[in-house]
Structure formats: structure tokens, C-alpha cells
């Protein structure tokens, strides 16, 4: 019984129930007429799923999001690893990404639309600006912190530079690289929605703004809720791929 109570799944379920319970409670007080209860939101979600109005907008949101995330992941990991391996690249790159990480996105968007218009490109860049810095900085830190003795081990057994990078440094860095990817993915979701709110209303961002403007708050929250669910699922899948590709040792204990 007690082992059931502290089982990770039970704990997760309890935390979800508490969060939704609080939401329901706050909605019923109500703290604001613009704040629907959890159950109202869920029924709106169900309605939007059934009449297709939600599913039809997702491709528009996912297009810049996925393209942006793929670019940030590949480019971000490559930059970060390179910066971790090469001091010159570090001195050149680290300040750029540290500044980008703290840059106020809303202030940059007018510049982006000025340069790239209000189409897909600007939205992809928004996603990249949000997600890439944390991916780069994590990859870079991870590579920098590879245990010295493991690298010495590779050298003493005559590994080539390439072997040491591929067989030792990258797998050793993979947990922190993946932590960066997960944070980056979450930031990318935020970026995609921000782009739709601030550049042109399309996709799920349009659904949010539109329902807000006609005071259908339950639908607005349903739209926000759905994107959060996608973000969580996406991050969960990402974590699985780490275990499969890089860290079979972690899978054993799961």
C-alpha cells in the first residue's frame, strides 16, 4: 500500500489532480469573469475537438514550430559542441547567445517583420530566437564539463580526436544536451504562440485571440490548454529518445 502511495505514477497523478482541483476551485469563486473553471474548459475543448475547429488550426502553428525546433536543435547542438571544444568559438559565440537568451523578444519582433515580412520566415526565426540560446548554452556547458579522466582514458588508449568526441564527449554530454533540448522545446512552443499573437494571428494563436475578443474564455483557455498538452507530450517523447540513443544505462533503472 505504502509503495503504491509513493509510486512515481501515483505521485504524478496526485500532483495533476491537485493542480486541476485548484483550477476548478479558483474558477468557481470566481476570481475573474474571464477565468473559466477546469470543467468548463474541458467541455469547450471537447466541443472544439469534435467540430474540428481546433484540429484545423494546428497545422498552421506546427509548421513554424517544428521547422524552428529542428533548425535550433541541429544548429544549436552543433554550435554548442563546437564552442565547448574550441576556445576561440567559445569567446566568439558565448556572448552572442547569452545576450540572445535575455533579449526581450517583443522588442525584436518589429525588427524581424521589417526584415522578413509577416510570413513563415519571421515566425520560424521567432521560434529559433526563443529556443536556440538555451540549447547552445547547455550543449556548450555539457561538453566543457566532460570528466577529464574520461578524456585522458580515450587519449591513453590512442583514440583519435574524432573517436574521443563521438564515443566519449557526446555521450557524456548527452544528459545536459537533452536537458537543453527539453527547455528549448518548451521555449519554442512559447515562441510559436508569441509569433502568432504578435506577428499575424494564425493557428492556435488566432484561436486564442479570436475567442478572447468575443469573450469566449472557456474556448480561449481550451486552446491554451491544448498547446500545453502538446508541449508536455513532445518533451516526454524527447526524453525517451535520449534513453534509446545515448544512455542505455538509464533505461535499465527506469
Amino acid at each position: 500500500m505504502s509503495s503504491f502511495l509513493i509510486h512515481p505514477l501515483t505521485l504524478r497523478l496526485v500532483s495533476v489532480v491537485i493542480a486541476f482541483g485548484t483550477w476548478e476551485y479558483l474558477g468557481r469563486i470566481p476570481i475573474s469573469p474571464a477565468f473559466p473553471t477546469f470543467l468548463e474548459t474541458m467541455s469547450a475543448l471537447w466541443g472544439m475537438l469534435m467540430d474540428g475547429s481546433m484540429i484545423s488550426v494546428y497545422p498552421a502553428t506546427f509548421q513554424p514550430l517544428l521547422i524552428g525546433l529542428i533548425i535550433s536543435s541541429i544548429l544549436g547542438i552543433a554550435c554548442g559542441v563546437f564552442m565547448g571544444l574550441n576556445h576561440k568559438a567559445e569567446w566568439f559565440g558565448a556572448p552572442v547567445f547569452i545576450v540572445l537568451q535575455s533579449a526581450p523578444l517583443a522588442a525584436l519582433i518589429p525588427l524581424l517583420t521589417f526584415a522578413y515580412g509577416i510570413g513563415l520566415t519571421s515566425k520560424i526565426i521567432t521560434v529559433c530566437i526563443m529556443s536556440m540560446p538555451v540549447i547552445v548554452l547547455n550543449a556548450y556547458t555539457a561538453v566543457r564539463h566532460t570528466p577529464t579522466s574520461m578524456i585522458e582514458m580515450g587519449e591513453s588508449y590512442l583514440g583519435s580526436r574524432r573517436q574521443i568526441i563521438m564515443k566519449i564527449i557526446i555521450p557524456a554530454a548527452s544528459p545536459i544536451i537533452y536537458a537543453g533540448l527539453r527547455l528549448g522545446a518548451a521555449m519554442g512552443f512559447i515562441g510559436a504562440i508569441l509569433a502568432e499573437l504578435l506577428i499575424t494571428p494564425t493557428g492556435i494563436g488566432d484561436l486564442i485571440t479570436y475567442n478572447q475578443s468575443i469573450a469566449e474564455y472557456d474556448k480561449m483557455y481550451a486552446a491554451i490548454f491544448s498547446i500545453m498538452v502538446f508541449a508536455v507530450l513532445f518533451i516526454e517523447i524527447l526524453e525517451r529518445t535520449e534513453y534509446i540513443f545515448f544512455r542505455p544505462d538509464k533505461r535499465v533503472t527506469q
Partner: protein, 264 residues
């Protein structure tokens, strides 16, 4: 110390590793080794014994080619050391196992880096995993092993590449006393069987006296070879008899007297 080399053996013997006037100053300014000269004879086990921080690991890493000396040179089989080499294998004080690799992959990793194909290298690794007593653990990961078992994986990895010179940095430090004794006997056998040169760092005086043909006592501040002792204990009697042998006990006592001023 005189200008003459501190050869740990009579001159008739061939020298496997020569360390000549090696000084090592770390970037922070710590002088870990100061003008150290020491020669290691072929086919023997030489222990480096000395208090913590006297530069044993530093010396071993310089011989391995992992660190560059600030001054002086190292030769292995008469050839200058400029980096790591195939004829040397290193057993790390902190094991340096890859947590994401199974026991067998870790043990075969030296061969993997040489480009040997998988079935061949795993067959060799298997043999050495057996020798170090880890048969049946091939598919576990390092975090599932005890400290002593991890150390044995590091040992198997070093043995698998079949190097002439084995550089062992406290290879038995994480092993319990019983296993340690078994290991010491195993290592004596390996020294007898294979014409390999062992340079062996240890903190245990008893261990050094028991397993070594010669012992180099290192002292800190400044780091130097204070004495070379050849235990010459009888090996024709049982291990337990050796440990009660007055000659053995005398040598242990003599080394302890030499070191104690640095411990107190």
C-alpha cells in the same frame, strides 16, 4: 640524491622505462615533481609508495604521455615519449569507466578505439573479464557495480590491449581486504607469466612489499625518490607464511619508519 640515475635494479637488467630529470610544474604554480630520475627494469613490478600529494599520479601520467613534463624526458624501451603509446596501458585511480557502456564494452574499449571488429574484441575482453573475476557481469552498467568491481573493469580494459608496460594508479584502493589479497596473488602470477613491466602506485606498505620486486619511496616537498628498496622476500612459501616472515615484517617496519615523519 646524486647525479647518478636511481636505477631500481642491478645494472645487468634491461630498463623498460627511464625517467630522467623530470620536473613538473602545474599551470597554477604547484611543483609536483622536482628533477626526478628513476629507472624501471623490464619484466618487474615496481611500486611507487609515498604520502598523498607527493606526485605519484603526476609521474604516472607523464610516463603515460598524458601530461607533458616541464623539464626532463621519459623513454620507454629507449624511445622518447611524446604522447600515449600502444606499448603502455593505464589503470585510472578513479576508474574512468563510461557510465553509458556495459562492462564488456568498457573492457573492450581500448580495442574498439584500435578499430578491432566487435566479435573479436569482445572475445578478448571476455577472457580478461573472467581473469579479473567478473564473469557473468558482462552486460551490467558501471552504476550497478561496486567500487571494487568497477576497478576490476578498468584493470580488464588495461590488460585487454596487451601492452608491455602497465601503469596502475592505486588499482586496488576500492577493493576489500580479502579481494585485495586475492588480487595481489593474481598480480604476482601475471608478473611471472607475462613479460610485462608494472608500475604500481599504492598507499599500502604491506601491499608494496608483498607484490613488488622493488619499491620506490617518494617524498614530498620537494618531491624526490628518497630510497629504492628491493624487498627480496621469499616467494617459494605460501602467501600466509610470507606475511609472517621476519624479513617481510622487517621491511614493512623499515619503510614505515622512513615515511612516518611525513604522516605525523
Amino acid at each position: 640524491m646524486s647525479a647518478a640515475a636511481e636505477t631500481v635494479s642491478d645494472n645487468a637488467q634491461q630498463i623498460a622505462v627511464e625517467v630522467d630529470n623530470v620536473t613538473k610544474i602545474y599551470p597554477g604554480g604547484v611543483e609536483a615533481l622536482n628533477d626526478m630520475t628513476i629507472h624501471f627494469p623490464k619484466g618487474e613490478l615496481t611500486s611507487l609508495l609515498g604520502p598523498s600529494g607527493c606526485g605519484k599520479t603526476t609521474l604516472l601520467k607523464i610516463i603515460a604521455g598524458l601530461l607533458k613534463p616541464t623539464a626532463g624526458k621519459v623513454k620507454v624501451n629507449g624511445v622518447d615519449v611524446t604522447g600515449p603509446g600502444k606499448e603502455r596501458a593505464f589503470v585510472f585511480q578513479d576508474f574512468a569507466l563510461m557510465p553509458w557502456a556495459s562492462v564488456i564494452r568498457n573492457a573492450a574499449f581500448g580495442l574498439e578505439l584500435q578499430g578491432m571488429n566487435k566479435s573479436e574484441r569482445e572475445a578478448i575482453a571476455e577472457k580478461y573479464i573472467d581473469i579479473v573475476g567478473l564473469k557473468g557481469y558482462e552486460n551490467l552498467y558501471p552504476h550497478e557495480l561496486s567500487g571494487g568491481m568497477r576497478q576490476r573493469v578498468g584493470l580488464a580494459r588495461a590488460l585487454a590491449v596487451n601492452a608491455e608496460v602497465l601503469l596502475m594508479d592505486e588499482p586496488f584502493s576500492a577493493v576489500d581486504e580479502q579481494t585485495r589479497r586475492k588480487f595481489q596473488e593474481d598480480i604476482l602470477e601475471v608478473v611471472d607469466d607475462e613479460q610485462k613491466t608494472f608500475i604500481f602506485v599504492t598507499h599500502s606498505i604491506e601491499e608494496a612489499v608483498y607484490v613488488s620486486q622493488s619499491i620506490a619511496l617518494l617524498l614530498p616537498r620537494p618531491s624526490r625518490v628518497s630510497e629504492i628498496i628491493r624487498p627480496d622476500i621469499r616467494r617459494d612459501i605460501s602467501p600466509d607464511a610470507i606475511r609472517r616472515d621476519p624479513v617481510y615484517l622487517d621491511i614493512v617496519e623499515r619503510i614505515w619508519q622512513g615515511l612516518r615523519t611525513y604522516v605525523e
